[in-house]
């Protein structure tokens, strides 16, 4: 699959502050891509550059094959973290207006708006003013309006923040459906569980820099694994065993950290000769752990 987005050494500064620092990444078409990072990591700035709202100070950027995101704006949808509706406009008009700004004809925008509002259970609200909607309904209308033009690339900034569980589920389903339809979805979040649930690939950024990047399995494989070991007998110096980076041994129970390339099978073979093993449990690092480690490491470097 060709790249939907390619960033090459992209940098963005605001005065003395560098928001995005030489960031490079590739997003394959038809995948779900997660931007992970703590608040202020540069996620929103990166997404704004991808959608053409901001332009990089240096580095190159290509979106849907175009060097300038503004040229392909009608093929992108962007749902900002903070979003609203024209309170005095009727629901149907708002949805159709945003569709028209993305290049749909008036009649087509109206038709789709009616169809999707009805499908979204908002059929009875089409002629109401937006200020009559509840918060949850408003969020739904925003999502419908943003996606009305059936974009090839969907960019969501913290799509789950402020959503109730019902709407969160809705957005998750939508993202998965878009992937099935061959579209590309990128979204930023600091809720790692969401990313772990649906992402094909992730990038973890902090202080504007890329810390970890890859497909979900690559990222997980590249991280240290943990072995939980229960044993009887004298194990000797567990930390000196092949592949072990760190050992926390309390006599009958130990927690061993394995190097990313260590072979757990070999370790098991060595241990069987030394002690009686009651439990040998290999655990992949969770994305959350990887995220926390990456951020911690980044903070250490900065300090």
């Amino acid at each position: 699959m060709s790249n939907a987005i390619r960033l090459d050494g992209v940098t963005k500064r605001f005065g003395a502050h560098t928001a995005v620092d030489r960031l490079s990444l590739d997003v394959s078409g038809g995948t779900i891509y997660g931007f992970l990072g703590p608040n202020g990591a540069g996620k929103t700035t990166t997404l704004r550059m991808i959608t053409g709202i901001l332009t990089p100070d240096s580095g190159s950027l290509s979106v849907l094959g175009g060097q300038n995101p503004s040229d392909v704006r009608d093929r992108i949808a962007y749902l900002p973290e903070e979003k609203g509706l024209y309170k005095d406009m009727r629901v149907l008009d708002v949805v159709s207006y945003f569709g028209q700004l993305k290049g749909l004809s008036r009649s087509e925008a109206q038709r789709r708006a009616k169809e999707r509002l009805t499908a979204g259970g908002l059929g009875n609200w089409m002629t109401s003013k937006c200020n009559a909607l509840s918060k949850g309904m408003g969020q739904k209308v925003q999502v419908i309006a943003t996606l009305l033009h059936d974009p090839e690339l969907v960019v969501l900034d913290e799509p789950f923040s402020g959503l109730d569980p019902v709407n969160s589920e809705l957005v998750l389903d939508l993202i998965k459906r878009y992937k099935r339809e061959g579209r590309t979805v990128i979204f930023s979040t600091h809720v790692v569980e969401h990313a772990e649930q649906i992402c094909d690939s992730v990038v973890i950024i902090d202080r504007g820099q890329r810390k970890v990047v890859g497909t979900l399995s690559e990222v997980k494989a590249s991280a240290e694994r943990t072995v939980l070991l229960d044993y009887e007998g004298d194990a000797g110096d567990l930390a000196a065993l092949p592949g072990v980076v760190e050992a926390d041994d309390s006599g009958q129970h130990a927690e061993l950290k394995l190097a990313a390339d260590a072979d757990a099978q070999k370790l098991l073979a060595v241990l069987i000769d030394r002690v009686r093993i009651r439990r040998f449990d290999t655990r992949e690092a969770s994305l959350k752990q990887i995220f926390l480690n990456a951020v911690e490491e980044s903070r250490r470097e900065a300090a």
Binding site: G40, R48, I53, L54, Y86, D88
Partner: protein
């Protein structure tokens, strides 16, 4: 720039105002409030009951003479009314006694009508012209009819008739009777005329419980003074004609000097010289009102978090162009609605206005060029102020933050309002010309000076200067707009604004 998006945004912003009921309520409210200043005093006068008064005439002759004087004044009003309606071909609206002499009255000039009215009321000599004579012959019927008029009837004919406002209560009354009638409101006031009113130290008395409303006293005093003066004049052996000649004030005839010479100015032309004041007020309300709408609508988009969604679809400059265009159309709609309302009001109720019959002539005296320039200055003035207020709207997050930026602009715009009356009086004064060359004031000063009219060089040079300034301001405000729209933190300081303006690409928003 994408024209389609600009038009879409313009259309939305236009409808966001014009499709709302409260917009039209606001549009209607302004002429209604303004017309209240004109109609309410007229209405109050109309429904005010006539002031009744009594006269204790110790001289034995004064009140008779005063009543004749009052009748003479009213007959003049009636003859003038008859003449006006005859000229307008509107005789049928007159009461029968007036309708029958309207054609003849129309043939007399205003001085002749006054002389005729005096002669009829005060028993002077018969007039000589056939038209006046034909009225003279009907004098007995006319006087009978006039004296039989009730206050209400008189008011329905013409509110300026003295008998519609003041009612003379005849008959002798004792001092205590007068006192109690004034106290219980049967009488508004009474006058005491001394036995020898021509004496230098004669003591005239006006007694009322209301000494604030001086209308009755002034009116009676005017008539009384004429009567006393006339008696004094005849006492020294002067004929009435000589006395009138002696008393006659000097009257200037206004001549309007134009390229083709000088001629007598019509009443409409005299009023038309004040027309530019109307232009200035209209321009002020339109420009400041509409530019403020742009600011509010931009703030609205920021505070409702729509700006970022918009910018993902449209260039910031397109957003600004679309909004400016849409809101300008709102302003044009507003001004057109006002002009329409004014025309309808003048066509329908023109005769109720204090400027009365002038209104139609006034409208027809508006030159097409002054309207063209008004439109030009509205557009340029709007662009200039819209760019300033639009940038303010984009830079701040809410109306409170906008206040410190907005207030100086509003204060500045008081200048044209303060000086407009002086400019009308001397439209080509050096200072007025100099101020016209200051672009933020150009639109107001130039429409203010329209009656002069200003030299062509002023039109061309000030407009060129204004176009350049508006273009620069639009550019500057475009840069502020582009960055400000995404700026959700504290409102920028002047230093930051300058750095936004210097930034060539749409870059400096927070992340």
């Amino acid at each position: 720039m994408k024209l389609r998006n600009i038009l879409l945004i313009a259309r939305r912003d236009y409808l966001a105002y014009v499709a709302r009921r409260r917009f039209w309520i606001g549009v209607l409210a302004i002429p209604i409030i303004l017309s209240m200043f004109i109609f309410v005093p007229a209405l109050i006068q109309k429904f005010q009951s006539a002031h009744s008064y009594a006269v204790v005439d110790q001289s034995g002759w004064v009140i008779n003479a005063v009543n004749k004087r009052v009748a003479a004044g009213d007959l003049t009003v009636l003859l003038n009314l008859a003449a006006e309606n005859s000229a307008a071909g509107n005789k049928s609206s007159l009461p029968a006694p007036l309708a029958s002499l309207a054609t003849a009255a129309g043939k007399l000039d205003s001085a002749e009508r006054k002389r005729l009215a005096d002669a009829i009321a005060e028993g002077g000599a018969a007039p000589e012209t056939p038209a006046a004579l034909s009225i003279w012959k009907k004098r007995a019927g006319l006087l009978d009819w006039y004296q039989g008029l009730t206050t209400e009837k008189a008011r329905s004919i013409d509110g300026s008739l003295a008998i519609s406002r003041y009612h003379f209560v005849a008959g002798k009354m004792s001092p205590s009777e007068l006192q109690s009638k004034v106290v219980n409101g049967k009488l508004f006031a009474y006058f005491v005329i001394p036995a020898k009113p021509l004496d230098p130290d004669a003591n005239f008395i006006y007694a009322s419980k209301n000494l604030t409303d001086k209308g009755l006293r002034k009116w009676f005093n005017g008539n009384l003074t004429e009567v006393i003066q006339a008696r004094k004049v005849s006492g020294v052996g002067l004929s009435a004609e000589k006395a009138a000649w002696l008393k006659a004030p000097v009257i200037f005839q206004d001549k309007l000097v134009t390229k083709s010479g000088s001629r007598q100015a019509t009443a409409a032309e005299k009023t038309a010289q004040w027309l530019p004041v109307g232009y200035v007020v209209l321009l002020y309300i339109a420009i400041i009102g509409v530019a403020q709408m742009l600011m509010m609508s931009t703030i609205d988009e920021k505070s409702n978090r729509i700006a970022e969604t918009l910018l993902a679809s449209v260039d910031p400059m397109d957003v600004m162009a679309g909004k400016t265009m849409g809101i300008a159309a709102v302003g044009a709609t507003m001004v057109c609605a006002w002009v329409f309302i004014v025309l309808v009001v003048i066509a329908g109720f023109g005769n109720m206005l204090p400027i009365g019959g002038y209104a139609h002539t006034l409208i027809s005296s508006i030159s097409i060029w002054s309207v063209v320039w008004f439109v030009v200055y509205f557009i340029l003035g709007f662009l200039l102020y819209a760019s300033i207020l639009g940038a303010i709207g984009a830079a701040v997050n809410n109306i409170q933050e906008a206040q410190p930026f907005f207030a100086p602009v509003v204060m500045f715009l008081y200048i044209p309002m303060i000086i407009m009356a002086f400019v009308v009086k001397d439209p080509n004064a050096v200072w007025a010309r100099a101020l016209s060359y200051f672009p933020p004031l150009t639109p107001f000063l130039m429409v203010n000076r329209a009656a002069a009219p200003p030299p062509l060089v002023d039109y061309v040079a000030t407009t060129a200067l204004l176009v350049v300034t508006a273009a620069i301001m639009l550019f500057v405000s475009g840069r502020i707009f582009r960055i400000g729209l995404l700026n959700t933190g504290a409102p920028p300081k002047v230093k930051e604004l300058l750095s936004w303006i210097r930034t060539p690409s749409p870059d400096k928003a927070g992340n």
